[in-house]
Amino acid sequence: MSTESDDGLLRSVVPPAWVDQLFARCQTHGWTLILISAVVGALPPVFGLREGYVMTVLSEMFLFAILALSWDIVGGQTGYPSFGNMAFFGIGAYTTAILVKDAAIAFPIAILGAAIAVLIFAAINGLIVLRLRGHYFAIATLGILLAVQQVTRNLAIAGGASGKILFDVPPGVVFYYFFLVVLVVEIAVIYYLTQTRFGFILNAIRDDEGKATAMGFNTTYYKTAAWMLAALFTGLAGSAYGLFNTFIDPQTAYNGAWNVELIAMALMGGTGTVAGPVIGAFGLHTVIEYVETAFVGWQLVLLGAAVIVTVIGFPKGVVGTIREYANEMDYYERGGMAAADSEEPEVTTDE
């Protein structure tokens, strides 16, 4: 992974300055972009795509984008990589399934119930895990995911190891729009937050939590807020999924492989960015879907390999690498390391 762009050819074909401008454009027109994407996303059913394989794949793409983006709030923006986000997904899924099937509650209200359940769970487990750092935090979240999975498996109301089958579910197009709307809302919320003080503080916690504390920020408060926000969106996605899939069991609801998948998506797209996890989700999910149909059973092998390759060669992801490419030029223009390291303490500028 090189940090210097030693590729002169690339520089002449796509000058960093252009890329920088592209980024600046996206920044200024961010909201327009989001709106356009939402409209584009809303179109396919209007033009006749209301069921079938493609609709399912698209819905799942939105779903994974939600999951990856949610992971990124805590993992990429705040620097606390969790391996157990699927716990929120599963709790959302099971709560909704139980409410709909056993208590005959209407779908929308059941989702609300699931959201509340997930938030309560997030608050409690946040108290525990958010005081841990690094390795310990990651493994603790994984432990919680598996613990919740085990507990659910032993609960009769959840259908035990066989899970629950759901009937009378709304048609697929409802879920398509549900996932799309949740995704767009999430993108909007995160996009907005990254420009506010709250977002800055999360990034500060990621970069140097001790310094953030020394500056007067109660980091526990902010970490918990981010954690609960991530839990909310993940839980919402989970709550719809059970119905969408007409079936959940401990294996699908608390899917450890999905957890790795969504982390990989965030990583490949670029952690700590708004577009990154979404791009990563769309891209990786499409590839995995293709492999799943073409080479049955090999999709997870591919996932493992993809994770390895990304981590070793490509840790900044798509957006991250592009941004660095653009940023480099930015810095270079303004004086650079060489000028700063010389006797002059001041950076010479052209202004």
């Binding site: 506010t196 709250f198 990034n203 500060a204 140097d208 303004r334 700063a340 303490p345």
Partner: protein, 260 residues
């Protein structure tokens, strides 16, 4: 350099900005800080010197709340902050610069400065608002003051060590703490940068009445800039006075200066 209005410093307060009374801190069998009293008054620049291992950083950590003293009290503007958590003490008006120069490398320089401003505090409204123009304007002013204008949008982690140190300092200027603790500010920067830093610190002290308490090993630097100096050795306070008094204090010379 324009100054935003001070929040609530009561006019004729007789409390020193900082007072420690009998601070003691032990680690296992070792007494790192032994019953140390110091005071810093409004508008002063006070130095803290002493051989390595004398307890200077430990004393600082007890003041900031990173560590809790085993005995003694720390008073900030008259409030007893001894048992307060670190972030609460910082909010109460205590700023700190670190020996290893800590800033937020993953964010732009401008974001670092915006974060440092205490306005917009912890209330939800402030958190969820985008930085307002006057704040952004202030960041531009301060960056211009230290001749780092062009770097506002650069990722802070890419700056050289000296530049990062300046940014850390500018962040404190944004925060306008009642008391600023500086841990070896002269460390690791070249002489001309050091001169600039002295200049900036003097100006902050003169014009903004910034109150500063600093640890330092660079004797020239300390003697030049401090109004008063405390000397620590083996956890105990062994000297206190103006630079001239310290330089002529036999006990201090034996313990510390004589070795140089």
């Amino acid at each position: 350099m324009s100054k935003s209005t001070d929040s609530d410093r009561s006019p004729a307060t007789t409390d020193p900005v900082l007072r420690t009374e009998g601070i003691t801190k032990r680690f296992g069998g070792l007494t790192a800080v032994d019953s140390v009293d110091v005071e810093v008054h409004d508008g002063e620049i006070v130095g803290l010197i002493g051989p390595n291992g004398a307890g200077k950083s430990t004393l600082f950590n007890c003041i900031t709340g990173t560590l809790t003293a085993d005995e003694g009290r720390v008073r900030l503007q008259g409030d007893d902050v001894t048992d307060w958590p670190e972030h609460k003490i910082a909010r109460a008006g205590l700023g700190r610069m670190f020996q290893e120069t800590r800033i937020f490398g993953g964010m732009s320089v401008r974001k670092n400065l915006l974060l440092a401003a205490q306005e917009g505090g912890a209330d939800i409204g402030g958190l969820l608002r985008r930085p307002d123009d006057s704040l952004v304007g202030r960041t531009n002013e301060l960056l211009s003051y230290v001749d780092l204008d062009g770097l506002a949008d650069t990722q802070a982690g890419r700056l050289s060590f000296g530049q990062q140190k300046l940014i850390e300092f500018v962040m404190e200027l944004m925060a306008e703490p009642d008391l600023l603790l500086m841990d070896e500010p002269a460390g690791g920067i070249n002489p001309s940068m050091l001169e600039n830093l002295i200049e900036y610190i003097r100006t902050a002290n003169d014009e903004e009445e910034a109150t500063i308490f600093l640890i330092e090993h660079n004797m020239d630097f300390v003697m030049e800039i401090a109004d008063r100096i405390y000397v620590l050795a083996h956890g105990e306070r062994i000297g206190e006075g103006t630079p001239e008094e310290i330089q002529n204090d036999q006990r201090v010379i034996d313990a510390y200066l004589g070795r140089e």
